[in-house]
């Protein structure tokens, strides 16, 4: 008899607590089977990129947390926060304790440009900066030299635009968001005057959504700048715009034309939207005699487009130009991170899978291992995209039920590394709600929706408090 009945519930470990993990949980809970779900999260705080990725000035995009909260309160669901799979608990142990293990662990590292000077001081990944302003504990102590006047962002996706907007906004535009206090303090002293957003293809091929793009034209003390020459499109690009598949690009172009034609305001900052350029080298300042130097300029090469409509690629022309900049962010995509015991495709940065079933090097399905979200399909799409993706993987899992190992499974109780007093302090959902409440309280006095904790130890300390705290002396 396959798992999923009252006497014999289907036990699934979900690794990762971001959107794809919660939507997978939703799918399993609605499957009509009797399920027991344990969701593993390496931080004490759940919700993945909704908490640590979505920009602080986009509070609406964090509302899916309400849905996740509803799922997390279902009795069949447990959160096991502050537990790192692959370190505190091995994948082998999970396979022994659950009927299925579903990896929803996202794409936590960045693609590299692969050019000289990439790692110079002053050159950062967008991930670091986003994690820093969103209070991700991994990035709490990163430093960004905001005394520079020119910042360059390589890439034109929505993350690049987020980074751009946070650099471009005034403190007044950010201070009532849930941006980390340490980031707001640094941004308040920022001397950035120019931000260059560099895309390798033309404006008709840019990947941003129109909505995010329009926002760049609505900033308090920053204007967008577009070179009208960049808006003269080749015939292939014009054909793309006339096609139904080009409707977003068409809207983007209208926004760009609006930017190019509006009168300039005397703003403190400007965002330069630049196209058909690729970075080829980052140069340092020579280090001032001895020691390594820091970023001083980026060498860009001009591209032209080649290929038919919707298949145009950027080809270097050989024409080079330099741009002086002391701060640079690479935002050209994310890659997943390997976990011992799971096949990993280092080129794509994903767990190789077929219909959500993880496969080995020979392409054979490994029974009981599944993937959903960015670790399955790569870093594309937005929050909702992951819902359909997770449902598809859950459907594969449910279809496999008759073939899965049907022996009795212990779930988290079967994990030696998590026995009380042995492993990490496991953070339950009830524990998280204590942390959550404290964050909201900390934010209230500042007019912020919350002031996030930025260190794991701070969060864990909160959980022990009721047991340890003594009345303070007057």
């Amino acid at each position: 008899m396959s798992a999923g009945s009252e006497q014999h519930p289907l036990r699934v470990a979900i690794v990762g607590s971001g959107p794809s993990g919660f939507y997978a949980a939703e799918g399993l809970l609605k499957s009509g089977r009797m399920v027991r779900l344990d969701m593993f999260e390496r931080l004490p705080a759940p919700f993945g990129l909704v908490r640590h990725g979505v920009a602080p000035d986009h509070p609406k995009l964090k509302e899916p947390i309400r849905i996740y909260d509803r799922i997390a309160r279902v009795p069949e669901f447990r959160l096991l926060g502050n537990v790192t799979v692959g370190r505190d608990v091995s994948v082998e142990e999970l396979r022994a304790a659950y009927h299925a293990v579903l990896f929803c662990c996202g794409a936590e590292s960045d693609r590299r440009l692969g050019i000289p000077g990439e790692d110079l001081p002053g050159s950062h990944t967008a991930t670091e900066f986003v994690g820093w302003y969103n209070a991700h504990p991994d990035y709490r102590d990163r430093e960004f030299d905001l005394s520079q006047e020119v910042a360059v962002i390589i890439g034109q996706g929505n993350v690049a635009i987020d980074v751009c907007r946070i650099l471009a906004k005034t403190v007044d535009e950010l201070k009532h968001t849930d941006i980390a206090a340490h980031a707001l303090e640094c941004l308040a002293a920022s001397r950035i005057r120019e931000i260059h957003l560099i895309g390798r293809r033309g404006p008709a091929q840019a990947k941003f959504t129109t909505k995010e793009f329009r926002e760049l034209g609505e900033l308090a003390d920053c204007d967008p700048v577009v070179d009208p020459a960049d808006l003269e499109l080749n015939t292939e690009s014009l054909a793309e715009l006339e096609d139904r598949a080009g409707s977003v690009a068409k809207k983007n172009l209208e926004v760009l034309k609006g930017f190019a034609s509006r009168p300039a305001r005397p703003t403190r900052r400007r965002v330069f939207l630049r196209f058909l350029l690729s970075p080829v080298e980052l140069l340092d300042d020579g280090g001032g005699g001895g020691g390594g130097g820091r970023l001083e300029q980026v060498v860009l090469e001009r591209n032209r487009l080649e290929g038919g409509p919707f298949r145009q690629t950027a080809r270097a022309t050989g024409e080079r130009l330099t741009l002086a900049c002391g701060l640079l962010f690479r935002s050209i995509g994310y890659k997943g991170v390997a976990i011992p015991g799971v096949p990993f495709d280092p080129r794509q940065g994903v767990f190789p899978s077929r219909d959500g079933r993880i496969v080995d090097e020979a392409g054979a399905v490994i029974p009981g291992l599944y993937a959903a979200g960015w670790i399955k399909r790569g870093p594309t799409g937005i929050i909702g995209t992951n819902r359909a993706d997770s449902m598809a993987t859950v459907n594969s899992l449910l279809a496999d039920l008759p073939t899965l190992d049907t022996g009795p499974k212990l779930g988290a109780e079967g994990l030696a590394g998590l026995r009380p007093g042995q492993g990490p302090r496991v953070v339950s959902y009830a524990d998280w709600l204590v942390i959550d409440g404290a964050e909201v309280q900390r934010g209230a006095s500042k007019g912020k929706p919350r002031e996030k904790f930025t260190r794991v130890a701070e969060m864990l300390r909160l959980l022990d408090r009721p047991f340890r705290e003594k009345p303070t002396e007057p």
Partner: protein
């Protein structure tokens, strides 16, 4: 800025949109779906999934379709929530072709 389902959904009801909605803001009657903009987060995930391009952000809504703003607002809250993809209505493919898609 609201996101609006318009008349192209009528007699199609492909429901691809509901599968990507991160906040379960779609509601439906027998004929079509509507968005509850008190719940919608304007992420736009649904817009490109519609096979008949029935969904618009308000800013992009052509003048003759603006009547749907009020219709979504009025009907969505009173209809059942639709969160899983369903079979399109009979004749949906023919209507899609009629609409030029």
């Amino acid at each position: 800025m609201p996101t609006i389902v318009t008349g192209n959904c009528e007699r199609c009801r492909f429901t691809d949109c509901v599968a990507v909605c991160p906040v379960a803001c779609f509601h439906g009657d027998d004929q079509m779906l509507y968005i509850d903009n008190n719940v919608c987060i304007d992420c736009g995930a649904c817009i490109p999934t519609c096979p008949v391009q029935a969904i618009y952000e308000e800013a992009d809504l052509p003048g003759e379709l603006r009547v749907w703003i009020a219709i979504n607002a009025e009907r969505a809250p009173n209809l059942p929530s639709i969160t899983e993809k369903q079979e399109p209505l009979p004749g949906a493919e023919a209507r899609k072709a009629d609409l030029g898609f």
